[in-house]
């Protein structure tokens, strides 16, 4: 069949909201866009474990400690679903991880900001997870089947994380002066980076139109950003805190909150590797991978021995352990 017919059939399926599955024909560029986007999202989950993992050992109560461990563990799980979804497009997890470690693949810049205070655990939940959800809910309807199914599971857990984060801030907001100050300070630091999570303005986002035609994307960056600002501007009142934007104001005519200009120089600076923690985050990932090399090698060696060993039948777990990546039982 000529390429053009393939493309027509593909686009018709997308237009009729039929999910594209791994074995279906798809344009090369569609595949590449998805690999880039899904792996970037997977990397964001994994790198995102670091700024919060940072506080597990210092969580101020046992309840907070348990929920924080569970949350960071969820993020690892999200990374796993997403790497698996990307693998259906013909790239291996090893290759994606390699691309992350050499700096070829990106992850969300938000995780290059530091978490100096406990209140950051609240602000990340409320603002960062909140912005992520805004981006991710439409992805539950993304045209690529494995991606949309992964996103449905992820969104359920993310909204839980967001409520936990807000609740951390709410507790601080009714606490001592020091706690209230901690709360406001975290909001001040995370607000603008969260707003930037939606990406460049529509007029400087060249890929948006194609992604929307392919129904990978359903709304533009600016539409989602506006929705997020509108929601947060109301929620911050419950906390009795302020968003650090003097221009934030309800616009009756537009039916939306107006907000001040975004510092895109800062955004591109962090994207290009010069944020406060870019170096530390990547180093931590590379270190974990390198320190774990002997473990993965041993697992592979053991699995290979069992394959040729008559004791295999009684071996403890080699049957469901392949190449060092045993599934969580």
């Amino acid at each position: 069949m000529p390429l053009q017919n393939h493309e027509e059939i593909f686009q018709k399926k997308v237009d009729r909201e039929v999910r594209i599955e791994p074995r279906d024909w798809m344009p090369d560029q569609y595949r590449k866009t998805l690999i880039r986007q899904i792996s970037q999202h997977a990397h964001s989950e994994i790198v995102g474990m670091l700024p919060e993992g940072n506080w597990i050992t210092r969580a101020p109560s046992l309840r907070r400690k348990a929920t924080l461990i569970a949350k960071v563990q969820d993020e690892a799980g999200h990374g796993l679903y997403l790497y698996s979804a990307a693998e259906t497009l013909g790239i291996t997890r090893d290759e994606m991880i390699r691309q992350l470690h050499v700096g070829k693949a990106k992850y969300s810049s938000i995780f290059n900001y530091p978490t100096p205070s406990w209140a950051d655990m609240g602000a990340i939940g409320w603002l960062v997870d909140g912005a992520a959800i805004m981006n991710q809910v439409p992805l539950c309807r993304a045209s690529y089947g494995p991606y949309s199914r992964a996103m449905i599971r992820i969104c359920k857990e993310e909204s839980f994380h967001q409520r936990q984060g807000f609740e951390i801030l709410l507790t601080l907001s009714t606490g001592s002066d020091a706690q209230r100050q901690m709360c406001q300070d975290a909001i001040d630091r995370w607000w603008w980076p969260s707003i930037m999570m939606f990406g460049p303005n529509d007029d400087s986002s060249p890929n948006t139109a194609q992604s929307m035609k392919w129904k990978i994307k359903r709304f533009t960056n600016d539409e989602l950003r506006q929705r997020f600002v509108d929601i947060c501007a109301e929620q911050v009142k419950i906390l009795g805190m302020n968003l650090p934007d003097p221009e934030l104001k309800w616009n009756q005519e537009r039916g939306h909150f107006d907000f001040g200009p975004i510092n895109w120089d800062e955004f591109w600076n962090v994207v290009n590797g010069n944020g406060p923690c870019n170096k530390e985050r990547l180093e931590a990932r590379v270190k974990a991978h390198e320190d774990g090399a002997w473990v993965r090698e041993a697992a592979v060696a053991y699995a290979n021995k069992r394959k040729t060993d008559p004791r295999q039948a009684t071996a403890p777990s080699s049957s469901h352990f392949e190449a060092g990546q045993s599934l969580l039982k």
Binding site: I46, K65, Q73
Partner: protein
């Protein structure tokens, strides 16, 4: 118990024992959670975090019971966050540093097997709260043993490097295993009251299971005379490790006393 009722010797020993059970789980859970985000493979990062979560959950159940026994307004958090190291009653094994993944795995394995046989007894004990907490925990511990023993075998019988690392881990940790079976004063007392058996009772079963797994892992057996430790974590005498753990864990509660979090 009614409020302000003084704690008599028997509740006092039960209280100490409950704290001991809680402290073991909290400190090991805390140690394991240091790995979260830094594991060698994503699936195993999740698995170890899961175990950390189980252990912290078990610790909370015991602390809540201890708070009930003490009945003076203490909470799970006052026990975890406002006691000093010399009041912690965890065994030394659980506070040892993570080292490499092999040492962490082996520490978990040695402890889980101990915990399994101990809780099998506690599940049947005359204290109904402890019986029900341990009954629920045993389901989790069964998985912890399976997961950690599979890794001990895989790493022991993996590559030359992994075998050597497991040997080192065994060498480092074996000095802390005898303490598991040397009864503390409160263990002797509650055994005398019939709440719990003497820990010596489970020593043989522990040894049998550990040795079976080590054999499969092609690792040497623990020597019988490895009791080189003169400290007793159960009695509040700890290695410096615990001081570092607590100064990190308790930092916010100590810096901002009396706050809700």
């Amino acid at each position: 118990m009614t409020p302000n009722q003084p704690i008599n010797i028997s509740t006092n020993q039960l209280f100490n024992y409950t704290l001991h059970l809680a402290d073991n789980n909290l400190i090991l859970g805390h140690r394991n959670s240091e790995w979260t985000g830094h594991g060698p493979v994503l699936e195993q990062d999740i698995a170890l975090s899961n175990i950390a979560l189980d252990l912290v959950g078990q610790a909370r159940n015991f602390y809540q019971y201890a708070a009930q026994l003490k009945n003076d307004g203490s909470t799970e958090d006052t026990f975890a966050y406002l006691r000093d190291a010399n009041e912690f009653k965890n065994v030394l094994l659980v506070e040892q540093s993570n080292g490499d993944w092999g040492k962490t795995i082996l520490r978990q394995f040695l402890f889980s097997v101990y915990q399994y046989y101990l809780y099998q007894q506690l599940e049947k004990c005359s204290d109904r709260t402890i019986a029900s907490i341990t009954e629920k925990a045993l389901k989790e511990i069964t998985y912890h043993i399976r997961w950690s023993s599979e890794w001990v075998i895989r790493l022991g019988d993996g590559t030359i490097e992994s075998h050597a690392r497991m040997n080192n881990a065994l060498h480092e940790l074996s000095e802390f295993t005898d303490e598991l079976f040397i009864p503390a004063s409160y263990e002797i007392e509650i055994a005398r009251q019939g709440i719990m058996v003497d820990p010596v009772f489970i020593n043989a079963r522990w040894r049998e299971k550990v040795e079976a797994i080590l054999r499969e892992a092609t690792l040497p057996f623990l020597s019988e005379d490895n009791n080189k430790q003169s400290l007793s974590g159960k009695e509040g005498q700890h290695t410096e490790n615990l001081i570092h753990i607590l100064s990190e864990m308790q930092s916010l509660q100590r810096a901002y006393p009396g706050c809700e979090w």
